[in-house]
Amino acid sequence: MERNWRLTLGRKAPHQQPGAIATGQARPAAEFARANQHARRVRRLKVALPLLAGAIIVAGLAATWLARSAPVDLTVAATTIQNGQLVMEDPRMSGKDKNDRPYFVTAQRAMQALDRTGAIDLEGINANLTLDPETTAEIAALAGRYDPKAEVLRLYDSIEVTTSNDIVIRLSSADILLNDGRLEGNGPVYIQTPNQTLQSGNVTIQNGGDRLTFGNRVKLTLLPAATGGTDQRAANDE
């Protein structure tokens, strides 16, 4: 189910004249004053960086929540034993997370090794979480491996997180260290929110999303707020 993300680039024609870089020639004071009046309103530099932090926190929380909440019920279409592995077809797991919000996780197949490790390989993972009253997130990963001993859930072969408020996050793989609530995502990391895009080589999310580190070259692009942006603030004219 390949979801293509919508890059909304709504751009309003600024009611003020288009910004012109002041030219360099000298002007008498009066003309300068007059020119100054015509200087267009300058809108406050609105680097909505924290918006971006919010977006990334979604990814972190989504992943850590997914792993740590106890499944309420697990249904499996069919289980067979094949070459030393318990193969579960179309496992579905749903439940309520610690904030009593519903989630469900499905996979095409889950194969649990019957040896001591008990590691579970998953294929075609899809998870749906509610992150806060108004936001849900959907995570899709082609494959994953859960190692109960090390308490690490690794998702790989491209992960995509889309949230109900137009945030898309893509990673190529992520290790989620369950007990210390840490996610190490390797890139290319791509995060798109309504008016920002962030690309980086990797990302580490720690303690529930309070600390995020993007590494190996980061590029953040802040698009001018689209007219329809919920936080659209008219250029301050005071």
Binding site: F32, R44, V47, L49, P50, I56, L61, N165, T221
Partner: protein, 174 residues
């Protein structure tokens, strides 16, 4: 004279309608304290204006969340917060169309729209060069004042006076 040279330093004019890109080797977001730190070859570009620095610290203010304090994702996009101020440190280089200013640090106050570049400030426009210890730029009007006294500890040029070198046949190009 000072007016013609510094007054049109549009270097830091913020055009609300142009995308801004910030690049760096690393970005650390400390959401608990609402600080984001870009470090390592930081480059900020918006239209004609470009700034380079070793480090850029962004202090943002999180909008007070009305109603119940939702979970940590309360700063979800949609309820935005604004940039309070920026601090650029380490070989700060700011270039606008035809003017370049370099300094040890630059502090941007988004509320007052004033930028203060301090420490070995060199302002050049074509062949003209002016040095001082503090350059105060009003982003909205792009009026710039270069000073070399009461620098508040910032490195001052020798002799403590603004020194300006104007090349005789240079007409600041329009």
């Amino acid at each position: 004279q000072q007016g013609g040279f510094g007054e049109n330093f549009g270097g830091l004019q913020v055009q609300g309608d142009q995308p801004i890109t910030i690049e760096s080797n690393q970005l650390d977001v400390d959401d608990a304290n609402s600080i984001a730190t870009f470090s390592g070859d930081v480059e900020v570009v918006q239209g004609e204006t470009m700034m380079r620095a070793a480090k850029l610290i962004v202090h943002y203010v999180r909008k007070a969340q009305d109603g119940a304090q939702a979970v940590a994702t309360s700063n979800m996009p949609g309820n935005s917060s604004d940039i309070d101020r920026l601090e650029a440190e380490g070989d700060v280089y700011v270039k606008s169309t035809d003017q370049v200013a370099t300094a040890n640090r630059a502090d941007f106050d988004m509320k007052t729209q004033i930028v203060v570049m301090s420490g070995d400030v060199v302002l050049t426009q074509g062949p003209n060069v002016a040095t001082g210890c503090r350059l105060t730029i009003h982003m909205e009007t792009s009026v710039a004042q270069l000073q070399s006294r009461d620098c508040g500890g910032a490195a001052a040029p020798a002799g403590g006076r603004v020194r300006m070198l104007l090349s005789p046949n240079s007409q600041p190009n329009g």
